[in-house]
Point group: C2
Chain length 122, copies 2
DNA sequence: ATATCACTTAGAGTTTACTTCAAGTCAATA
DNA sequence: TATTGACTTGAAGTAAACTCTAAGTGATAT
């Protein structure tokens, strides 16, 4: 699969895909003799993972570390698990903060709908 | 209340507080004759709001717009409501994406715990 | 009286994650 | 044959949100 198709499929730009590769999150993607990238199903799976995690705000540096360990094989299982647990914690905290803001927005909008606004409260 | 106390209370730096003021999110904070900021309860309420929304990833530019409208009084009620609804939608989408990533992390960690790992799946 | 500390300002610097640019290759189509 | 379009590269540029620096003021502690 060619880079432009992958980009379309995942709603990423080709620049972003090359950037991820440069950063070591994915690939190196095999290239045909014309030098053009050809993404395998495995590559796509990895991009799926990266996209999901990036959408949740996990940092490139973590993903890079994790995926590098992944490529090193079984001996890194323990460290990988630790990283995941750590990231889950960070993510949970963010989720909670966002839920709180979401609830607050809902409450606020409700006040606007009911026309009960306090001049001093945002 | 002095800037350093406010910073401590909200776990922000004094630089961030001055930055927010410069950007028009809060204040202008009244200053004593020595030129030192003195935060009122109203200022703190506003910082509370800003902090909550920033923690959820809402952009400075939105907060600035919203709070400026707020300061313009009742005639901006309709527009303010619209902004809140729009931001709620953005926030909901992010929340869903994060929940998905969170579930995925949980699932993954579970696989690590049960020692069922697929060489090809991150 | 002198040093320390919290504060002030304007403005420059940093980090993260892209995004754009310039210059070039290669295959296919008008 | 010429030009169009997708690809390649390395490197420079950008946006958002801080974060830090330098130079200075003024009140308090030794």
């Amino acid at each position: 699969m060619q880079i432009s198709e992958v980009a379309k499929e995942f709603d990423l730009t080709t620049d972003t895909l090359r950037y991820y590769e440069r950063e070591g999150l994915i690939g190196p993607i095999a290239k045909g003799k014309n030098g053009i990238r050809n993404y395998t199903e495995n590559d796509l799976q990895r991009i799926r993972f990266v996209k999901c995690m990036r959408a949740a705000g996990l940092e490139i540096s973590f993903l890079k570390r994790y995926l590098q360990l992944f490529d090193e094989g079984d001996k890194t299982v323990k460290e990988r698990r630790e990283i995941l647990v750590e990231q889950r914690k960070i993510l949970k905290e963010k989720l909670d903060a966002m839920q709180e803001a979401y609830d607050r927005l809902n409450y606020k909008i409700d006040l606007y709908d009911k026309n009960i606004l306090d001049k001093n409260l945002m």
